[in-house]
């Protein structure tokens, strides 16, 4: 059985409709109206032990809501979740003992206590044996470089420091699963890089199953073999990043620098199976489709007609691909990828 199984999961929030204006507050009291927000609308997937998944989706897609249901914070409206064989909200304590959660937006630590004291308290909350606690603390102090702020109250920590503290706190009890909701939000380049290194190490050496949500495509590119894309509460893609690149990223770009010593080329370049999409002086961008021609062929054509100084091939940016998917997600959800 898979480590995590989710079947036809729904979560609907009932939100009170607010009446506007001065009398609105009073009207809201007497005449309450609700409307439903279908935050998660029939999602199914399963996760095997040791996987590392990235979950993408535009704002309000339902990613955080899904994670909260997997953790047992929210009770699903319908559908089934099993984490380690338990339904999280029914057997919350049994499940959370084996999972770690980091919400990038909000700390899990005691605000007024020094980091080390928070960690120490969590040791008792999770009943981590002293020996194991020392080992883990030692490892995380090194891996996450906690020492400079170990004795500072959490409220004084910078965002990046706090995030490292939160990570350590979520991992002290050796969870088998780690959920990260936007773990790299607000981190600088170096900090992001270190965070990713850390997660990779964790997954490889400790076998921790990781599910993360993010808006940073690089997180997924560098960490996750498998990708979930959620939009409007529906799972619109479940598969590898390569597959999505092959399916949607068929357009590549050849960038050429023309040698214009013997006079400039006027107008767009004219080569078969490619079209110029941009020009900047002697530099031209030619878009071509994998299905129509190969890069080698195209280069041969261009070189035969024009004098070139330099050239490069640009792979489609994953950002652009994902953006396209978000933009017409309703279209592709009916197709088979």
């Amino acid at each position: 059985m898979a480590l995590i199984e989710v079947e036809n999961l729904h979560k609907t929030f009932r939100v009170a409709r607010h009446h506007r204006g001065a009398l609105g507050a009073i009207r809201s009291l007497v005449d309450r109206q609700y409307f439903d927000v279908h935050a998660v609308d029939g999602i199914s997937f399963s996760i095997e032990r040791g996987e590392m998944l990235g979950c993408l989706g535009p704002n309000g897609a339902g990613k955080s809501t899904t994670i909260k249901m997997l953790t047992g914070i929210l009770v699903p409206s319908s559908g089934r979740i099993e984490v380690l064989g338990f339904e999280p909200y029914r057997r919350r304590k049994d499940v959370v003992r084996h999972i770690g959660v980091v919400f990038g937006q909000r700390t899990q630590l005691w605000w007024d206590l020094p980091l080390i004291e928070s960690l120490d308290l969590l040791r008792y909350v999770y009943r981590v044996p002293a020996g194991r606690y020392e080992e883990n603390l030692h490892a995380f102090r090194r891996l996450l470089d906690l020492d400079p702020f170990l004795n500072s109250p959490v409220r004084q920590l910078s965002l990046g420091q706090r995030m490292r503290g939160d990570l350590a706190a979520a991992l002290l009890h050796d969870p088998s699963v780690l959920y990260l909701d936007e773990p790299t939000i607000g981190l600088d380049v170096v900090a992001k890089h270190r965070m990713r290194d850390f997660l990779r190490t964790l997954n490889r050496e400790r076998g921790v199953t990781v599910l993360l949500t993010t808006h940073d495509m690089a997180d997924v590119e560098q960490l996750c073999a498998r990708l979930l894309i959620i939009d409007h509460g529906k799972l619109i893609y479940d598969g590898s990043l390569e597959a999505i690149r092959d399916r949607f990223g068929t357009e590549r770009t050849l960038v050429v620098d023309l040698d214009e010593q013997n006079g400039a080329v006027n107008g767009p370049l004219d080569v078969p199976h490619a079209r110029e999409i941009r020009a900047d002086g002697p530099r031209r961008w030619l878009s071509f489709n994998r299905a129509d021609t190969t890069a080698a062929e195209l280069i041969a054509h261009v070189a035969a007609r024009y004098r070139l100084r330099d050239l490069t091939i640009e792979e489609p940016e994953i950002e652009a691909i994902i953006r396209r998917i978000y933009e017409d997600s309703s279209g592709i959800s009916s197709q088979t990828l």
Binding site: S78, F86, E87, H98, Y126, R127, G131, E135, S176
Partner: protein, 369 residues
Amino acid sequence: MVRVSDDRASGGVTGRRAKDKGVQAKHPVSDPLALSPSQGGAAGPATGSGRAETDAGTFACAQDKGRNAGHADTGFAVRHRSFVPFAPASTGRHALHLWLAEAQVHAGLYRRLIGAQIRSQMQYKVSFVLRMLGSFAGNLIDFGAIAVLFNRIPALAGWSLPEVALLYGLSAVAFSIAELFAAALDNFAEYVESGSFDRVLTRPIGALFQVITEDFALRRLGRLSQGVLVFVVALGLLDVDWTWDKGLIMAVAIGSGAVIFFSIFVLGAAYCFWTIQGREAANIFTYGGDFMSSYPLDIYHGWLRRFVTFVLPLAFISYYPALYVLGRPDPLGLPGWVRLLSPLAALGMALLAWAGWTIGVRHYQSTGS
């Protein structure tokens, strides 16, 4: 491939129920442990799946060893994780053992968590001392007002000043004990609104337990000491022939009263899962309840008296125990044994509070960001 779920019909309530049965069947051994928030229930999936794994196999083993070796050092009476799934079905005695061990663990945890809170409160020593003095003085003035009242009239609905002081003292002591523990519930609406409650639900201990460990209102010791003072003075002034049963009734009344007040605090907090106005609603019953049970019920209207006797059992905090001790007649004309029912009233309120809380937690909606 894309998986778009279309079997919505099967995801309904019936589908869920059927599934539950499946889960239970799969883990029959861990079910007795559902009673206690123990390690045991979780040991099933953890060790089972942990060992089956090849990649992290060595790690999982090391982890298990570490756990067993470390038990002595945790300071808790924790049972061996790996043994529990194979434990025989729990007998009554066994269950009691588990329960006691859990209680011990929670007491230790409470001390630790509260200790940390108090340490951080103590960072502001001066403010702490001032607030404590302020609360002591404020409450003393409060009682002074009653004393002044008695200067004008000799008795209140037939109750003398020392008798009213007994009611007042009982109620104040019970209330301030409850308040000491329930202080964190005061801000619970904000806690729910801000989504801080998420954090509580990600940890393997009781949610209510965690919330109340967020604050231990040492500053309210002022109120407690004032209550004790009034109570002791009342005992000194009263002309009561003290027998052991009367002493016991007083002690039980304080305990039961604290439980009743605490339960009302919890119900008020639970109400916050539905609406942010929970706090005001709770205040009516907590502070209002303290006020009501500080005076003889005789001064209130008949329906109100019946309400606090049969519906919200505030009368059992101070009034009925006081009737017993003072040997006064019951204006509602209930039989004598009714005066002994404080613990039962407390139990009822505690169960109600627990149910309300549990339903509330299920209702928790978190926040959108």
